[in-house]
Amino acid sequence: MDDLIADFVAECREMLEALGGEIVAWEAEPEDRARLDSIFRFVHTVKGNCGFFEFPRLEALSHAAEDALADVRAGRRQADGPLVSAVLAIIDRIGEMIAAIDAGEDMPAGDDSALIDALAPGAEPVAPVAVACAETAKAAAAPRTIRLSVELLDRVMSTVSDMVLARNELARRLRESEHEVAVDGAFERLSAIIAEMRDAITRTRMQRIENLFVGLPRMIRDLSSELGKQVLVDIEGGDVELDREMIEMIRDPLTHIIRNSVDHGIETPAERLKTGKREIGILAISARQSGNQILIDIQDDGRGIDGHKLAEKALAAGIIDAASAKALTTREQLALIFEAGLSTAKAVTSISGRGVGMDVVRSNIERIGGIVEVDSKPGEGTRMTLRVPLTLTIIPALSVSIGDHHFAIPRSAIDEIVRANGESVLLDSVGGAGVATIRGKRLPQVCLADILGLASNVEASERKLIVLRPAGGDVYALAVDRIHDHEELVVKPAAPAVMATGLYAGTTLADDGSPILLLDPAGLAEVGGVKLESVERAARIAAGPDAREARATEVLLFRGLDGSRKAIRLALVDRIEEVEPKAIRKAAGQLRAQVGEAILPLAGATKDQLAGDKIRLFRVNDGSQEVAYAFAEVLDFATLDHEVIHSDQSGEVGAVTLVNGEPAELIDAHWLFASLATAPRRAAKPLVCHLPGDDPWIHNLLRPIVEAAGYRVIADSDADEEEPDLVIASKGSEAAANAPSDRTIWLRADPEGEGKKDDSIYRYDRAGLLMALKSASSGRGK
């Protein structure tokens, strides 16, 4: 009997889990027959079994739900919000009871009649309905499966590993002995089968991430109705496979981020309407595989994170000092959210905002070799990205050796490998500390043999340098004697006595069956005395995607008129022009070059540098405006693959970096446009301003100001054909009596207005007038 009950409990659990997503999806599409059927099947199964096991309360509950759902199935009733809520409440109660049966406890006390009554048509809803679900993964139905204990699986896995080792041994023996050719053939076949088996058994450890996602719609639904918010959940990529243990490791961090998004990110419907958004917030969760990493994005369209506020809070909490607070970039400001003891929540709620959490999320993710990134725009939303390795246990590694000792280094931490006697590498000792200069960049350098206290018979200059970047940290160079092979290693935790050294991340077996220690790059740095902490925060950011994108940036390398080596991002340069020096002149406080029909603001030159027959110019385009940049000669095309050191002061040169091994100044194109370009040369469609009447003051004095602000001015005769975006009229002028009031600026001749209600502008109040013009143009499109 006990066995039967255990089976019943297991079956119910499995169905409950699969049902979590289905029921919310059903709510979104009540006419979806397939989902209705699977829910019906569940309550029906429970009912059938309960009668047999004598669980009267369970039976009553499931019976009531079955009746109501049967009515829907038969078309006697329409599935609506209250019904879904009532069914959900009943399924929850069934879940509680099953948990109690499983634990061998008594049934939780309580009366179920309220739940059953709520099923009746027109009954008071149990809980407000708030969530719709647009799950893209249509088929949530469980595939044909059997349950296996994890222990058994692990045993099979270890047996297969033994088999591989035995095969290797056999291979060696076969090579040494004389035998028939037929034996070779049979052995080859055996090898292939073993390899296939190893693959298959490795895959049993993989699970679809759907297992993690399936409970989310339900959780978000409950959370949002508790908070009075409306959230649309969009889940994608449920079929991505991930190591079973890994799924467990990211469950908590993911849940935490989602709770934060719903609680702090997404606004209440009223707030959302006020800011011009749809009242339903969107929470998109997606998973995808990228190389040997899984990327999980959690994106909301809520209020976003205010980086400045974070920086202020961090300053107040003493996490950063005033100087570094000022120097933070937006990305760095946002990354402060991961600092311990910082919360942007105004009030502590029951769901989140206790100032613990995001730091725990980060440390949990980093512990499994992953990275969390945050990107946010105030008012537009927040995106959190979890990057985690595919599996906890199989990692790609590089094997290295000191003398006869072999070690493995996780490949994810390796930036590059260089020879110590290579051309662009210099080794120095500064006060006993090793410094490696690799292509002009100085890195702390330590020798693995010294850290481990091993004798090395390899000259320092013959060693290989491995540039390591421990999880989110700074880089350093590690000198090893020899580098052997890339291998995929099955890593197991090492015994405490081994881990206590702080040098190792685990142990593993090489193909020949001998154990290998996996080195921990961060631990090596610490034991080796390399200080990585001071740049930790900045380096964490540098490790993010921005740095990688920057690495791939193509630049045009050129020599400026002042002779210096400069670089400009290639994408910005439209083309190269040649003009005569006389085409360049100082006008309106700025050097300007005439190129064809256009007059462009000119940078990169001073008046007296403009000698010679021809002046060569880049035409730099930001999409709507153009500026010209004078230069002497184009040197090369290159990609930015080095650290970009940003300038503290804003100016023409925004940063310096190494291009092809020599320093170059990087032109700050943003600064160019910000300081040189004026109004957009041509807006997509200029705004139209109607100046009614033929008042000479308006046409002679006002019109130039209005045109300078980017408006096209039309007269009365055109105003009938074209609807103006703005009307400017003198107060009391009859010509504009029928102008639309919300798009009209009234001007008055008297400096003093006629009381509070008078929103007209004094005709010589230039600042007020420009402000009104600006707000009218920015309000366009609303």
Partner: protein, 147 residues
Amino acid sequence: MTALLLVVEIAGQRVALPSSDAESVVELDTLIPVPRAAPHVAGLSALRSRVLTVIDARRSLDLGETECADGIREAVVVELDGHHYALIVDQVEDVVESLGEPTAIRGAMEAGWSRVARGMVETEMGPILLVDVAALVSGPDQSRVAA
């Protein structure tokens, strides 16, 4: 109560380990050293597809060092907290039945032995010191490692 004891010789002393702790007795041939680990960790070895952390019982007791250079050593495989260890002993002698509960030893023992002693048990071979495997594995500098 009678329990089976594995009688081994460590540093010339005949001692007993609870045989329920011992998984198997193996002969180690390869030994991969673990640089910078505590001195009683002699290295790593592989038993089928498992990695064994090899503990030199002599060093754990501060009674010198087992000479490992000559190759094959006898070792007792034990499992503690999910990790597998191999304890290098001088030699494995026999499995005997204990004839009673361990009793406290009143005499003064050498420092290393007193740390791992669980008491004295009577056997057919006479009184034998019963050794605590966990204490043997954790080594002499347990307090320092923990701190």
